[in-house]
């Protein structure tokens, strides 16, 4: 170990010097660092349709990606000034803890353990999800409680394994988990028939079904066995950046509540509604309280549209996933998406 660490250090220092890519160091104040490097570094999922995925040209899209864009637009004035760092489930927390990324926007479930012991703060909830099961219709199963004796495929590095075994214990079912390092391997094993069911968050199931060759042959079982509030995280110890991240998310939600869309945003600048005036910075300057300027929310909304638009474009009715809004409706339309007021 001694020599190992020594050579590791020497080698890494030497190789760094020969210059491949290394980011400028962050110096405690995340906002200052982002501004000085003129780029937001955002940790995202390697590939999850609807949340973060790349097209053949390497362009990122998805809900988690859109949040990064909105944040970059708000802070830097340009939604394209984001560097996306694709992370797998195991890498994500150390990447955030070590300062490799500024923010982790990678469909991560908010739990007590993670909030309390990982040195991170959850910004809010981007998507209310829950773990479900997908099976092939030919099995003729109507409920997850009929999975006794079944083998269930899942990916390691998530909360799903524990939920699965909790569910099995509570319902006295004998379920064999088959755990793979990579999600592709888990879905591959499910597709080939090695597993009777595949389990992950319901949104992930929909994503998987949408890219399957025959989506009609698969069904998502009605049971949702857990609460999975997914949201972005920032490092602890920087309340300023924490607040900005939190309020950009809130601005996206408020935008939907007050009917501010990408298309009508400029028109709404002349609105008489004091709430809209405050959001768009045409009356009071709310941005300075966050360390930004008065158009901070305008830029975020202009870049990605409001939360509803982000949802429909990436995972909702305008996407192959066709997910229902459900819990993710605004509070005044039957959902639980409720942002504290911008005032």
């Amino acid at each position: 170990m001694l020599k190992n660490t020594l050579s590791r250090t020497i080698a890494s220092v030497a190789l760094c010097a020969t210059a491949v890519v290394s980011l400028p160091a962050h110096a405690g104040k995340t906002l200052d660092t982002i501004k000085s490097r003129d780029q937001l570094v955002c940790g995202v999922n390697v590939a999850l349709a609807g949340f973060s995925s790349t097209d053949s040209e390497g362009k990122w899209s998805g809900m988690d990606v859109d949040y990064c864009k909105a944040l970059a637009a708000s802070i830097l004035g340009d939604a394209n000034k984001v560097k996306y760092v694709p992370l797998n489930a195991q890498q994500r927390f150390t990447a955030l803890q070590s300062g490799e990324i500024d923010i982790l926007s990678r469909n991560t479930t908010w739990t007590l353990t993670r909030d309390a012991s990982l040195g991170a703060n959850f910004v809010g909830v981007m998507y209310y999800d829950g773990q479900g099961f997908m099976v092939k219709k030919e099995l003729k199963i109507a409920s997850a409680k009929e999975l006794n004796g079944a083998t269930v495929c899942t990916q390691s590095g998530t909360t799903t394994e524990k939920n699965l075994s909790d569910f099995a214990r509570a319902n006295k079912l004998d379920i064999k988990p088959l755990v793979f390092e990579k999600n592709e391997a888990a879905t591959g094993a499910y597709q080939s028939g090695r597993c009777q069911a595949y389990t992950t968050d319901a949104s992930g199931l929909a994503a998987e079904r949408s890219i399957s060759k025959t989506p009609d042959e698969h069904m998502i079982l009605p049971e949702i066995i857990s609460k999975e509030p997914l949201g972005p995280l920032v490092r602890r110890g920087d309340d300023e950046f924490f607040a900005i991240s939190k309020w950009v998310l809130n601005a996206l939600l408020e935008g939907e509540e007050y009917g501010l869309t990408q298309a009508n945003l400029d028109e709404k600048k002349s609105s008489d509604d004091p709430n809209i005036q405050r959001i768009l910075g045409t009356s009071e300057n709310m941005g300075t309280l966050l360390g930004l300027d008065k158009e901070w929310a305008y830029r975020a909304l202009k870049a990605t549209g409001n939360y509803g638009e982000i949802f429909e474009r990436n995972v909702g009715k305008d996407s192959p996933l066709k997910l229902e809004r459900g819990l993710n409706q605004p509070w005044n339309k039957g959902g639980i998406m409720y942002a504290p007021p911008i005032r």
Binding site: L2, K3, R8, A11, V21, H26, Q90, Q91, S98
Partner: protein
């Protein structure tokens, strides 16, 4: 002809029986393979045709359709001439490094030069080339980069470790021994996990090192320990008289090692070094487990998101297995050739 057949296939009843049995079996297997892989196979990128031929014949169309992603991974499509050129350059240099005539100090300088060009081509950002960040690198260029840089980087480390293990100084000797045995005792994947998940925690707050670089360093440290043992074998084969003669000439330790001992020791272990290179080349496939898209990973990338072609993943695997095979087999043949050269040299 007949005598040859008699001597090699039918020299007694038992052998004749084996020949007939094995021959029939072999013919059967070969005809099946021929049928599946060649005569009933679909060669064009047409998912419909592949679907009808499924079960009876292979679908090489998956390679025809996806070869760009399999070979180059996520690298931007229009810019793929850059990794192609960079890879060809690196391969040419690898070939040149196999020629004994070129084993001169300028070869090391050439390596540095080519690597710089390689990085400029791949990464861009200068000379009007668009920047392509390392997370978009993938496929064969990444495999070759990882393999060659690991061995090139491991070499100096290994020489130092080997000398350290043979040293008279007890502290140095034990440090080097501990390092080599530690690394050789654990699986590569745990070292890769360490580089990928843990390394950021070991660094001061805010330092950020590219994950590709971290994995590369891990591969170097791993390959170094194995290479050190190969080189130590060469050092042990040097007769004591050589050391004594060098010492009596009044040479210092480093003069003795650099001018007398190491050149002889390294020449005898060239086949071992080549074998180390082959293992490292194969080991690069493991980086897919820590989410780098080298050849094995880029195949996943190419077929997993495309349900039309997903059923033909086996054909994709066979294609990249063939690529690995061509590289490793030619390297091992070369190493055997060198081995014969070396042993012939000893007789003289």
């Amino acid at each position: 002809m007949v005598t040859w057949l008699r001597a090699n296939l039918f020299n007694n009843v038992f052998n004749s029986a084996i020949t007939v049995l094995l021959g029939t079996l072999l013919l059967y297997v070969l005809s099946q393979v021929w049928g599946w892989g060649i005569s009933h196979a679909v060669w064009v990128a047409d998912a419909e045709q592949c679907n009808t031929a499924r079960g009876a014949g292979a679908c090489w169309g998956v390679v025809a359709e996806k070869y760009r992603i399999i070979i180059f991974g996520r690298y931007p499509f229009e810019a793929q001439w850059r990794p192609l050129l960079a890879t060809l350059l690196l391969m040419a240099l690898l070939l040149a490094s196999c020629v004994r005539l070129f084993w001169k100090p300028w070869l090391a300088a050439l390596w540095v030069g080519v690597l710089v060009v390689f990085f400029i081509l791949m990464h861009g950002g200068v000379l009007g080339l668009a920047t392509v960040t390392t997370d978009q690198w993938g496929g064969l260029p990444l495999t070759i980069l990882l393999a060659s840089l690991s061995v090139v980087g491991a070499f100096p480390l290994a020489v130092l470790l080997a000398l350290g293990r043979m040293s008279d100084l007890p502290v140095i000797r034990s440090l080097c021994t501990v390092y080599v045995e530690l690394i050789r005792g654990v699986p590569l994947i745990s070292v890769l996990f360490m580089a990928s998940f843990l390394f950021p925690l070991f660094m001061p707050v805010g330092t950020s090192i590219d994950v590709l670089l971290r994995v590369l360093v891990a591969m170097i440290l791993f390959a170094g320990a194995y290479l050190a043992e190969v080189i130590r074998g060469g050092l042990q084969a040097i007769p004591r008289g050589q050391y004594e003669a060098a010492a009596s000439l009044g040479l210092t330790y480093w003069q003795m090692q650099g001018k007398i001992i190491l050149p002889q020791a390294l020449a005898t272990v060239v086949p071992g070094i080549m074998n180390n290179f082959i293992s490292t080349f194969k080991d690069t496939s493991l980086v897919t487990i820590v989410s780098l898209y080298e050849l094995t990973g880029s195949l996943d990338l190419a077929v997993n998101s495309d349900p039309d072609w997903l059923p033909y993943k086996l054909e994709g695997y066979l294609f990249i297995a063939a690529i690995y095979f061509v590289f490793c087999f030619s390297l091992s043949r070369y190493s055997q050739w060198v081995e014969r050269q070396v042993s012939r040299g000893k007789v003289h």
